[in-house]
Every structure is written in structure tokens, then in C-alpha cells.
Amino acid sequence: MKRFLVLFAALAALWTAPGLTPAWAALQVDVTQGNAQPLPIAIPDFVGGDPALGANVAGVVRADLERSGLFRPLDPKGFAEHITNINAVPNFGSWRSITAQGLVTGQVTQQPDGRLRVDFRLWDVFGESQMLGLQFFTTPENWRRIAHMVSDAIYERITGEKGYFDTRIVFISESGPATKRVKRLAIMDEDGANPIFLTRGDYMVLTPRFNPTAQMIAYMSYIGSKPRVYLFDIETGRQEVLGNFPNMTFSPRFSPDGNQVALTLETAGNSDIYVMDLRSRAIRRLTSDPAIDTAPSFSPDGKQIVFESDRGGGQQIYVMNVDGSGQRRISFGQGANGTPVWSPRGDLIAFTRRVGGNFTIGVMRADGSGERLISSGGHDEGPTWAPNGRVLMYGREAPGQRGSSIWSVDVTGRNERRVLTPGSASDPAWSPLIQ
């Protein structure tokens, strides 16, 4: 137990350490070394009446944990002990012999009412004790969600942080040549499974965002060649234009309580930020500067909004109170800085840095200090946070606009990898944990 916990503690410390090294140095370490030691964990296929289903559930858990970069699921071919009864204490020595430090045993059974029951236990191999034991019930078609919830529980027990596997991504699916690219609104599970297209592609859609319950999407649509912010109800498929504005509205973002949407309204070529109350549909103007003011993002306590403006000459990041008062610049780094997104933890703001034609994702503290670049750059744009504030996704455009893809990276800059999407994709937005 002790060694297990010590190792996890060390891992957590490494993982949460603030960027003590300069941004560029950290970037090199991230890309070329990946020096965080992922934790070896054994996850045999879950037992039960349907071996294929048990294998599928365990496979999703292994893939989730591997993708996080913090775990190294061991190859089941090397397992010495064949788990048949998850209520029996495993032979820890046999798991130690293959260097496993964690062991997950699980079982999937069909209930008389047709539902699935999934039980699992997380074992500390060196401490020879159970760390966690949970049971889930669900309908059979929901087996992937249960697997993600198992992953979240393991992740949380071991790292002390909430997991993010039982989440969805709303994004823009792209096809066709760059000059006539077709863009469709789409959602998928965090691991790329279950992609669903919500629009047909006969009009362009951009910049979707989930509301806090992940039931509603705010996005921008060019229906009728009139670019406006729309709401999309995932349950009913119903779409509605938000407000009745004479000109372009864009960059919608929900408030943390889901009752308001901050957006940008363009008037006579000038873009300013407004907030609309979704119940009364009343709007409040927050900026009134002849510069471009756009890309608002609420702080998680709902009291402040971070946004971008070129009022100082170039695109930079500013913060204001939610009533529009106290507007002040917080980014002073190299190049142009935009697309600020407040972390769900409140501690950091992710942004896009552009120097010439090179775009990179970075993070800075909420006061603008301690900025670090965390993506490997090229044309990386538009970060979005996992609900635990530890991982980000963003869009990456290939040179010459030959296609776009979604990538994820740890907030430390480690574990940058491509996210599985059905074809080209951009503008990802991460949902909260599904309720």
C-alpha cells in the first residue's frame, strides 16, 4: 500500500507542478521526452455471462486510462492469473511479477429486468488491499458509458482529481476542399466513439459550445447567409436563433449557471460583447470600444469574463467584471493572443498565441502571469478544457488548409496526441461530466 501511494503521490506532484521551466524548454521536454512515468496497471477482461461484452468494457477502460498518459495498461497476454471470481482476493504475487502496481477486476452480468450490472474492484498490488469497489446498473446500449464511469472512478481514486472520460465533445466536422469546405455540427464521446451529425452541411456552422448540463449547444450558423448565434437542443433536435439582431452575432459562451449566453454583436463593422439572459432574453452591453472585442469566457464563479480585444493595437487578452466594469489587459507576451478560455478550476486561462502564421496553445494564470506554451504549434487554435481542468483539446489546421484535426494535451504540455474523429474536424468544445 505504502509504495503504491508513494508512487501515486510522486506522480501527482510531478503532474501538478507549476511550470518552473521556461515555456520553450517545457515544450521541448513535452514533445521529445515525455518523462512522466505512467503507472503500470493490469485490467483483465471483465468476467460474466457475455465474454465479448466483458472484453469490450475492459478494453474501453484500458484505452481511457492509456490515453490520459498517466497509466500504462499492461498487455493481457502476459497475465499469469486468470480472474474468474471478482469477489475472491487476487494472487498479488502473480501481478507483482509482471510489474503491475494496480489491478482492476470486473464483472458484467445481465439482470432479470434486462439491465446490465457492472461491478469492479481496484486493487493495490503492492499494498495487497482493495482501494475501491463499485457497482453500476445501466441499459445494455449504455455499456460504453459505464466503462467510462469505471475509468473515471479509477482515475479519481488514484490521482485525487475528477476524471473526464464520461464526457462528450461537440465539434465541427469538415469535408471538401478548403475553398468550399462543408462544415457540420457533430458530437461524439470523449474517446471519439458514437459520432452523431446534428446538421447536414447545407449551411456553414462554427464555434459550438455546450451548456453546463450538456443538453444544449450554442453555436454560430450561416442559415440564409445570415451568420447568427443559434441554440440546439440535443434531446429534441430543435434549433432556434438566439435573439433578433440586425447584424452578425457570434462567439457564444454559456455562463457557468447556464442561464446566460455571452456573445459578440457586430454593428456597422464594429464587434462588441453582450450578455443575454436566456429566460427574459434581455441583453446587456459589456464593451463599447471601436476595437474588436470578442471571444468572451466566463470565470467559473461567474463573476468575471475574459475576452480578446485589439484596442491596444493588436489582439490581446483582457479581463472585466461581469457587468463590464474594470476592463484591463492581462496578456503581454509575444505576438497576438486570443481565444481565452477560463479553466473550470479557475486557476488558469488557456489561449491561442499567434506569431506570424504560427499558432500555439498556451496557458497563463488568471492574472496573466506564468504563461507557458503547451502545444507543439503550427496552426493550433481554440483550446477547450476537460471538466477537471487538467487536459485541453484544440483544433489543428494542416499547412495549406489541407485538413484539420483535433488534438489533446495535458495542461503540463505532456501527452499531446490526436483525438479520433470521423474525418477532418475543428472547433472542439468539451462537455462537463455527464449527469
Partner: protein
């Protein structure tokens, strides 16, 4: 040819008064090539003369010019583009039923939403110039496409310059 044979006839008539005979000369006139027969109406494929209908969207695009360009992160109308916008305004004065939409575009060197805002600035700058040239404001809509509709897809200055543009598109009221 016709006027030549007519003057020949005239010369012959004048000569007849003096010489008393002009038959020969008349025959000479008749040897001139006959007028071409009228073109058959249906049989041969008559060349379709592709003349652009005045007052059409094609007329505007080809004979007036629909696109102006902008400097990097700029949205002021360049002096070199005032000629084309002046012609657009004159054309719109000639066809008062026509309505237009000005599309503002940006190159790829900007984030998506910033470029939507920049495209709106450019579209509005074109609209304001047209209005200053007498086009009524109600006839001109604007729409920004940001960096979403490039005409050129390489990542170099040549392409970026082409993509930073304002395009005046006929949206209604044109001859078709």
C-alpha cells in the same frame, strides 16, 4: 462593297449620258459578289453570341469588378481600389432595383472569431465607401466569412493577399 457598286452604277449612269451605252458596264457591276443569303434559321448551328446582359450579376462581375483587397490586418479601402468601388456605385446608380451583399474575408493568419470580426470591418468599409458614392445604405448588406472561404489555399503572402478581400455580390433585383 455596297456603296462601291452604287457609285459604280452612278458612274455608269453618268457615263451613259455621254457615251449612249452602258450595258457592258452594267454587266460589270452585276459581277460583283451577290449579297450573302440570309442565314438559315434552324439547320446550321448559329454561333450564340455570348453578350452579357446589361444590368445582370454577370455584367457587374465581369464589366465592373466585384473584388477589392486589403492590407494585412487592415480594413481601410485602398486608394487603388477606389476606382473599382466608384464603378460599382455608378453601376448601382444605373440599376436602382439591384441590392448587394458585401462579403468580408480574411486570410488564415488570425483566430476564427477575430477574423469574423475583421471580415465584418472590411465588409463595412466597402459598404461605407459605396454609400459615400451615393448608394443608399438600405441596398447594401454586409456578411463576414472570416477565414472560412479562402480563394487561395497555400500558406504564403501571394495567397494571403488574395484572401484578404471584400466581394460585392448581387443579392437581388438584377436582370437575369
Amino acid at each position: 462593297m455596297t456603296s462601291f457598286s452604287r457609285s459604280l452604277k452612278f458612274a455608269c449612269l453618268s457615263a451613259a449620258l455621254i457615251l449612249g451605252a452602258c450595258t457592258h458596264k452594267q454587266e460589270a457591276v452585276n459581277t460583283a459578289p451577290p449579297p450573302a443569303p440570309p442565314a438559315p434559321m434552324a439547320s446550321a448551328p448559329a454561333p450564340i453570341t455570348s453578350s452579357i446582359l446589361p444590368g445582370s450579376a454577370e455584367d457587374f462581375r465581369v464589366n465592373v469588378g466585384d473584388t477589392v483587397h486589403f492590407g494585412y490586418n487592415e480594413y481601410n479601402v485602398e486608394d487603388t481600389d477606389k476606382g473599382i468601388l466608384g464603378r460599382q456605385a455608378a453601376w448601382l446608380a444605373k440599376y436602382p432595383a439591384v441590392r448587394v451583399s458585401v462579403e468580408g474575408h480574411a486570410d488564415e493568419r488570425g483566430t476564427r472569431e477575430y477574423n469574423l470580426a475583421l471580415g465584418a470591418r472590411r465588409a463595412n468599409a466597402v459598404k461605407e465607401y459605396l454609400v459615400s458614392q451615393g448608394v443608399s445604405t438600405g441596398r447594401v448588406e454586409t456578411v463576414s466569412y472570416g477565414k472560412e472561404r479562402p480563394v487561395c489555399t497555400e500558406s504564403n503572402e501571394g495567397c494571403w493577399a488574395q484572401n484578404r478581400r471584400g466581394v460585392t455580390v448581387i443579392s437581388g433585383g438584377a436582370n437575369s
